[in-house]
Amino acid sequence: MATSAAAQETFFALREEIARIEGRLAARLEETAPAAGSGAVLVRRNGLAVTSLLATGAEGFDRALGGGLPQAALTEIQGAETRDAGSSTGFVLALVSLLLGEAPAPVLWTGTFDVFREAGLPYAPGLRSLYGIEPARLLVAPAQRLADALWIAEEAARMGGFSAVLVEIRGNPARFDLTASRRLHHRARDAGRPVFLLRQAGFPEPTAAPVRLIVSPAPAGPRQTVSGALCGSIGPPSFRIAVSKSLSAPAAQFTLEWNVHERAFQERGAENPVAVAPLSRDGPHIAAKTGTGLAFRYRAEPAARAEPAGKQFAPHRRLG
């Protein structure tokens, strides 16, 4: 008995050691049931609450990942081609938007010049309307060389003052090898803040990131109006996510949709639980400040309310 108990203790100690090296909680090894809520607050660093997992809100996806994406880690997000940059960027920014909800701190987006030239520079009005990322919250650091971008990312990741750090690279450069990804991962783990590696036009290669997701575009659903779907319209952003590497999930594919009004993911196919015409995008309507406001600052959602009932068409079709 005594020997078996001692052996078990050694076994558990080893298991914990492995879990510590891999940067996840030991309890997760056995736990298969989804964690309740978004996870407990583990540490408080720089005034930001650090939770262990980031729940995306899409239940099946979260369950497959064992509760959500690890927060204190490097997460690799990959787009197969440069033209998929819109989708992969959109998915990462959606994750950032979720993070900003719990920890309002600046976001750093670094990358090399060539990726910004090929896939375009971040466009603040789009980031703001879709993901609620204020321009004042975003720092963009285009770097001449990959080494500089990695230096910026490592320094930012180590600091932990950012709510998220995005590193965007193109292809599979030789300089960004397993060692470089391990350095980023360790810094993210020590600081407790996530680092997202956004790889455009690359193929999967060995990485220290515990989770790698491959994002490809998915046709968007139609816009929902009070009287049903609006024919021929392009609805909220949709993504096809393939889990390519995960410590807990088997390879799987999901189609997620970003709910712009709720600022949360939902799985495609699920019945839309959200009101078709939301009251207001940014919470309940607040009385405008006197004096400073412009008359048309708070505008209703255009497609949702302005369309007449009855047979619905996209605007351009009515021209023809």
Binding site: R83, G90, P106, G161
Partner: protein
């Protein structure tokens, strides 16, 4: 011997001692000199290089006093008020200057006096290393020729033609007739030399608010040593900053090399700095970026750290854990370090502006002061609209080929972008954006924007420039401007 073009003839601009011994003088024509001594070696004078050299020397003289001014093309003024004691007195200072210049291979004449005019004369007309005490100017100047008064050649010759050839003869003469006949400059120069009129020299560089320096008996060349010195100096700078209740916004490190070259390394801080280790980290990044450009040569024997600009330092009290207020400071420090290493354009922030043209509505700008802006919610018309915009903007917009549209002003059926063909399955639009006539130089065409989705589900933001006109046959052009999620 150096020659120079002057009034259509080549004349001697400068000559060495050997040529001087042959009896040649400045201003002699090169042709005459060659006729006398055919083996003369003549090189073209380079005034630009001379100017650079004298400026480099002025930089180097910064080690004695921050107030260094250029005097013509061949002289330097050093205002050593309050600096002489640092070098052990005026005599030691003068000897030190003369010795260091001698070892660098320059022949210098130095003079020291209470007024710039008298010092100028002492350097040029007295035997080497002349020091004039307070009140000795008059007796010293009296015996010197008129050239010692920094007069123009025309004034001097006309004075000499009436028999006034020494300073003493003018100083004793009645002033009013002199001024009437030879101009007030003469009187002014005389008064300046004798200390009756204040004369200020204009220093080349602005004087730093605070500076600390360290003279080294043994020159240092290694970057690690320099960084350690920066920490030491920043430690002494901190005391001065604390006394003034300020922090440094802009710092400069001066490295005086043994052979006279001066290296300047400047860093800026977005928040006032005081802590030595923070200053040390900024310089660490800057020095790492400049590692190839800084040539230590035989080493640096004087290192000076100056605060060029300071600002009030706000002392904040953190909570007991000391964590509460560190977020902004961390990010400010991070931004400073990135900019110190990779230049001011390394860190940008999007900025919205009130414009309907998409590429003008938002731009990436340099960061001026980090924390103040960081939490300010921008409240601009451009970003507040509920119209959907792409996530990434291609700048400039890339032209695409559109073979056909369903209706003349409708969205494309397919398009070719970067040599690949995309079939459009769905489209939304148009959203017409007219050019801003108050900004454009010439009339630009209006744009019709479409959000389109291709067969794979990628979403793009396209626009057509110009309108179809069945009679005019105006060519319209299509562009792809953005990628959406």
């Amino acid at each position: 011997m150096l020659s120079r073009q002057e009034n259509n003839s080549r004349r001697i601009a400068a000559l060495d001692e050997k040529a001087e011994r042959l009896g040649l003088r400045r201003g002699t024509g090169i042709a005459d000199a060659r006729a006398m001594y055919p083996s003369l070696e003549v090189a073209e004078a380079d005034p630009e290089a001379d100017r650079r050299l004298i400026e480099a020397l002025a930089d180097w003289c910064d080690r004695y006093t921050p107030l260094v001014a250029l005097d013509g093309v061949d002289g330097l003024f050093l205002d050593i008020s309050g600096c002489a004691h640092l070098f052990g007195g005026e005599r030691c200072l003068l000897d030190d200057i003369a010795a260091r210049f001698f070892h660098q291979g320059f022949a210098v004449r130095a003079g020291l006096a209470s007024t710039p005019g008298a010092a100028w004369a002492a350097a040029r007309f007295a035997p080497g290393g002349c020091i004039l005490g307070q009140g000795e100017e008059e007796s010293f100047m009296a015996g010197l020729p008129l050239a010692a008064l920094r007069l123009e050649a025309a004034t001097r010759t006309s004075l000499e033609s009436v028999g006034l050839s020494t300073v003493g003869s003018i100083a004793g003469a009645p002033r009013a007739p002199l001024a009437r006949r030879f101009g007030t400059t003469l009187i002014l120069r005389l008064d300046q030399a004798l200390g009756r009129v204040e004369e200020a020299i204009s220093p080349r560089l602005p004087v730093a608010v605070l500076s600390v320096e360290r003279h080294l008996a043994e020159p240092v060349a290694l970057m690690e040593d320099i960084e350690r010195l920066v920490l030491l100096l920043a430690g002494s700078l901190k005391q001065d900053l604390e006394r003034r209740g300020e922090g440094a916004r802009s710092l400069e490190l001066l490295l005086f090399r043994v052979d006279g070259a001066v290296g300047r390394v400047a860093v800026g801080a977005s928040l006032p700095l005081r802590e030595p280790h923070l200053i040390g980290r900024l310089f660490h990044e800057r020095l790492a970026a400049l590692e190839r450009e800084i040539d230590a040569g035989y080493g640096f024997d004087l290192v000076r750290l100056s605060a060029l600009a300071t600002a009030a330092f706000e002392s904040t009290q953190g909570d007991l854990s000391g964590a509460a207020l560190s977020g902004d400071r961390d990010i400010a420090m991070f931004a400073d370090r990135v900019r110190a290493r990779l230049g001011p354009d390394a860190l940008l922030r999007p900025q919205l502006s009130g414009s309907h043209v998409p590429e003008r509505a938002a731009s990436l700008r340099r960061i001026e002061a980090v924390p103040a802006e960081m939490h300010a919610v921008s409240d601009s018309l451009a970003g507040g609209s509920a119209v959907e915009r792409p996530l990434r903007l291609l700048t400039p917009a890339e032209p695409i080929e559109v073979p056909a549209t369903e209706v003349p002003e409708g969205p494309p059926l397919n398009f070719r972008w970067r040599r690949a063909l995309y079939r459009v399955t769905r489209a939304e639009g148009p959203e017409r954006i007219a050019p801003e006539w108050w900004r454009e130089q010439e009339a630009a065409a209006s744009r019709d924007y479409f959000r389109v989705e291709d067969a794979d589900g990628r979403r793009y933001w396209l626009y057509r420039e110009g309108l179809y006109d069945p009679f005019e046959k105006i060519r319209t052009r299509w562009y792809l401007q953005g990628l959406s999620a």
